[in-house]
């Protein structure tokens, strides 16, 4: 009984929060097209989400590409299929690893800091002050951040694609001694435009999810410094979960 009740409560909260999330999504969408447009603020957020994330993206995707090559080479060597290492690395990076890993890393970096920032504004009444100055926090804070996420995540993913494939090439050719020409040929051989697109479309969705979740968690912060800490953790956990969850359905949808 007790345990059923608990499970029930978890589900109710889940539904409530999902509803809240979508309501804020609609509010953000509506406010996006209303003046005034804060160009400077949009730009600042793009730098914060995009440019400042380059080092993290660089390391993550490059090493993932390298490990991929290493692992597949070992496996494929047993069935004398070393030639396909390049194809596997490229496909995996472009379609799946680069979008998801970039999104998860940026969630940790940016989603959390957005939750902390807006959460602090909540507990110090700065959000009330914004409203009192006839400025909707969704308009002034959410819109530039969410736009930055949607625009910058695909760009970071392109970078991740290149670095992952490059890392794989380095390991395959320099370390494992694959033939550079054949490796390169195999990298492109089975790729279609669709592989690139599906990854980029997914990453745009992830960018929306991680920024909006950070903003929403911050917006509903209560309870001082401890509340801000909770909001930050919750932002990372729930954004990561939503990203992985959405990833499955988007992949199914986009082939």
């Amino acid at each position: 009984m007790n345990i059923l009740e608990r499970i029930g409560r978890v589900f109710i909260r889940l539904f409530e929060e999902t509803g809240l999330w979508f309501r804020m999504l609609v509010r953000t969408f509506v406010w996006t097209f209303r003046p005034p447009f804060e160009g400077g603020e949009w730009l600042r957020q793009m730098v914060r989400v995009g440019v400042d994330s380059i080092p993290v993206v660089f390391l993550t995707t490059m090493f993932t590409g390298m490990v991929m090559a290493l692992q597949t080479y070992n496996g494929f060597h047993r069935v004398h299929a070393e030639n396909f290492v390049g194809s596997v690395v490229a496909l995996a990076m472009l379609r799946e690893l680069s979008p998801v890993l970039v999104a998860l890393m940026v969630t940790g970096r940016v989603g959390s800091s957005m939750a902390a920032e807006i959460g602090t504004m909540r507990v110090t009444e700065q959000l009330d002050a914004l409203e009192a100055l006839a400025t909707d926090p969704v308009h002034y804070l959410f819109v530039p951040r969410v736009i930055a996420g949607i625009v910058m995540l695909p760009l970071l993913t392109i970078l991740g694609d290149a670095l992952g494939v490059g890392g794989g090439y380095l390991v395959g050719v320099k370390l494992m001694g694959a033939n550079p020409v054949i490796y390169e040929q195999n990298t492109y051989q089975f790729l279609q435009m669709n592989d690139v697109w599906s990854g980029l479309i997914k990453s745009a969705f992830f960018g929306l999810i991680l920024t909006l979740t950070g903003c929403v968690r911050g917006y509903y912060t209560s309870g001082g410094a401890e509340g801000v800490g909770r909001a930050t953790t919750a932002a990372v956990v729930s954004a990561s979960l939503i990203i992985l969850f959405t990833d499955f359905f988007l992949t199914k949808l986009l082939f």
Binding site: D128, A129, E131, A132, T135, D136
Partner: protein, 253 residues
């Protein structure tokens, strides 16, 4: 809108926060161009009351009518636009800590006026001058003292010359001289711009100086309201204890 309708009218407002009924059938009117002062003990619900006037808190029951419009039933987008008539300074300042002092005060000007940069600079300087702050405009709020922050909050509230001004303890923590400067400013704005102001304060000297009407908040409602003279002579023991600042009396029972 005719001139006899009140500018601000709270009608039978109830509000429960954190399991406690903070406002209990609270009603009062503030006339156009009046200066209304709310006094009362700490934690009695003064800040909650002033936040109702600008719609930052919605009442559980009752209505808040400002300039003839019921803001409790207004759509969020309309309420957002409606708030341009207000200026509010918060008890803790609530300055945007990612911006400089200058940007804080310029914020409403940038968003809601077509001022050029030089006009904005002029107006910001003017506002800082009025609250006797100099050489702070490029500082961050975190580099200021509590009293300076409060004055910047005050300057930000008045920068648009709004029709309605709400001040939550504008002089708390300020030295007596600057307190008097702020009080004079409020009086002056009432006279020259015909602003309607609602001020919360613990400082009876400031209260009597700026008020057209003083109201005492106690147990969720207004227990006494009047001009500074009638308020001072009130026979209500609660009011008398508060004005004289005595430790014994109905307030502390």
């Amino acid at each position: 809108m005719n001139d006899n309708t009140p500018m601000i009218s709270l009608q039978h407002v109830d509000k429960t926060l954190g399991g406690r009924k903070v406002l209990d059938d609270m009603s009062f009117d503030v006339g156009r161009g009046d200066s209304f002062v709310i006094v009362g003990g700490s934690g009695v619900g003064k800040s909650v009351t002033i936040k109702h006037i600008i719609g930052l808190i919605k009442p559980d029951r009752g209505h808040v009518v400002v300039d003839g419009q019921d803001i409790t039933t207004m759509r969020p987008i309309d309420l957002n636009r409606f708030r341009r008539r207000f200026g509010m300074s918060f008890q803790e300042g609530a300055l945007f800590d990612s911006m400089s002092v200058f940007e804080n005060i310029a914020f409403p000007l940038r968003r809601h006026t077509k001022f050029t940069d030089s006009q904005i600079r002029e107006r910001v300087d003017e506002c800082l001058d009025m609250v006797h702050l100099e050489g702070v405009s490029s500082k961050r709020p975190s580099e200021l003292s509590g009293g300076m922050r409060r004055r910047v909050g005050f300057a930000r509230a008045i920068s648009l010359k709004p029709a309605i001004l709400l001040f939550d303890e504008p002089t708390t923590g300020l030295d007596p001289v600057i307190s008097d400067v702020i009080a004079d400013l409020i009086v002056e704005m009432d006279r020259t711009l015909n602003t309607t102001t609602v001020t919360i304060t613990h400082d009876m000297k400031v209260a009597f100086k700026i008020a057209d009407r003083v109201a005492m908040l106690y147990k969720g409602r207004i227990v006494e309201e009047g001009t500074p003279e009638t308020f001072q002579q009130s026979q209500n023991p609660i009011v008398q204890q508060f004005i004289q600042g005595r430790a014994e009396g109905p307030l502390t029972e």
